[in-house]
């Protein structure tokens, strides 16, 4: 993985950066809507800030998601700027699953600003937008495998869970800074209670997805993909640890208005946010410079081949010179 990254060109790095930021903005946009709809302890002020966050996130996510198309086109043309503006290449990318995913995501993101509309049902429109946005992740990559419908539902559930979690960081940090300890504590307590089930669903959905897609082989750890996945799991374990600390220790302290509790919670959220960002970056790198060893590789005499990297294998063929 490290070797592969070390030999990656500018387009690959740009692709990882844009993908990471697009993931983060998309999850914040969708997550802010989900959090706004599900946390009753949010104050009107806090809810207003969350709405603004949802719209800003949606705007950023739309721009970053669109940006992925020319970056992909550039990659396909060997990393040239010409490739990024080549109409034929842009057309090919738009016709690919990435294009379909971006289009659906843009539709979902476009519905999110409805959260501001002063009309009945506007909240539901934004909520549908958030779920469509999450579902856009299921329109590409391995979610397109069989059983497609189930995989799509599981990926959407996994992303929605992650979005809810990520979307709560800002309102929790804001509440701990601006609101009385009891009020902020109540919000943190409500989030902790709901997040327990959401994170459980997130983990189960992710695990079933992977179990559906693959076999159970630990030798995958020897591949760059497997190693990157272990890094991701380690980071996730760190996030879970911090989340547990927040729920078990920091939230009760905040509810009891213990001195410095709000500051400790904010610090913990910042670290948690940084770890989630690292997870997103690892995921972006994972899906950009490595690929899972193919099922067919089980029968192949050569080492598993990464898709996006140059570590290719060659075999003897009858028509060889």
């Amino acid at each position: 993985m490290i070797d592969t990254l070390a030999s990656a060109d500018t387009t690959v790095w740009l692709s990882i950066l844009v993908k990471t930021l697009a993931y983060a903005a998309t999850l914040v946009a969708a997550g802010s809507v989900l959090v706004s709809a599900s946390l009753r302890e949010l104050t009107e002020d806090g809810r207003g800030a969350l709405r603004r966050m949802a719209v800003i996130g949606a705007l950023a996510a739309a721009i970053l998601s669109l940006l992925r198309v020319p970056v992909r086109a550039s990659f396909l043309m060997g990393g040239s700027i010409d490739g990024a503006i080549d109409l034929m290449m842009l057309g090919i990318v738009t016709e690919s699953p990435l294009g379909a995913s971006v289009i659906v995501r843009l539709i979902g993101l476009a519905l999110i600003p409805a959260i501001f509309l002063p009309m009945r049902g506007a909240r539901w429109i934004a909520l549908i937008g958030a779920l469509v946005t999450c579902a856009s992740f299921a329109l590409r990559g391995h979610a397109l495998g069989d059983p497609r419908l189930l995989l799509g539902a599981l990926v959407t559930l996994h992303i929605a869970g992650l979005a809810f979690w990520l979307g709560a960081f800002a309102p929790l940090a804001r509440a701990s800074r601006r609101e009385p300890a009891a009020r902020a504590g109540a919000l943190a307590h409500e989030f902790g209670t709901k997040a327990f089930w959401v994170v459980g669903a997130l983990v189960i959905a992710g695990a079933i997805t992977l179990a559906l897609l693959g076999a159970t082989k630990l030798d995958a750890l020897a591949t760059p993909y497997g190693q990157a996945f272990v890094i991701k799991l380690a980071l996730f374990a760190g996030v879970l640890g911090l989340a547990a600390l927040n729920k078990v220790r920091l939230t009760p302290e905040l509810q009891a208005a213990a001195p410095g509790a709000a500051q400790r919670l904010r610090r913990s959220i910042v670290v948690e946010g940084a770890l989630v960002l690292a997870i997103l970056a690892t995921t972006a790198a994972l899906t950009t410079v490595t690929s899972p060893p193919a099922e067919r590789a089980n029968n192949a005499p050569s080492q598993p081949q990464t898709m996006q990297t140059a570590s290719l294998v060659s075999r003897d063929f009858p028509w060889r010179y």
């Binding site: 179990a211 159970t216 950009t288 140059a310």
Partner: protein, 115 residues
């Protein structure tokens, strides 16, 4: 018990690594081949349709060598191109493409033409 559970979950999660993409199955010339003359054809075979969007032949100095592309941009199991006469030395074929599942791919293979 807990550690076994953790290992089982990790195994299940890592098992996602066994997913399928199209792969490049083989090349002509083979990677690392030592040839006595310019190959008539640069040929790649994939196990699933691949849309090869870029392929170029470079020499040891990184200079691009002329190569007439025989395959179009449509998804195909094979790609071929005809290089012009090459001087002795080491050459690398670099390619990029879109797999049938939409994943971008890149790869390279090298061969050498002996004096």
């Amino acid at each position: 018990m807990k550690s076994r559970l953790v290992i089982a979950i990790a195994a299940m999660l890592v098992s996602g690594a066994a997913l399928a993409h199209s792969e490049r199955e083989g090349t002509t010339p083979a990677d690392g081949a030592l040839l006595t003359e310019t190959p008539e054809m640069i040929h790649m075979v994939f196990d699933d349709p691949m849309r090869v969007t870029m392929a170029r032949l470079v020499n040891a100095d990184g200079a691009e060598m002329p190569m007439a592309r025989g395959s179009g941009l449509e998804p195909s199991l094979e790609f071929h191109a005809e290089p012009e006469s090459l001087a002795p030395g080491r050459y690398t074929v670099e390619w990029r493409g879109l797999a049938s599942d939409g994943h971008p791919m890149q790869g390279s293979f090298s061969f050498q033409i002996a004096d």
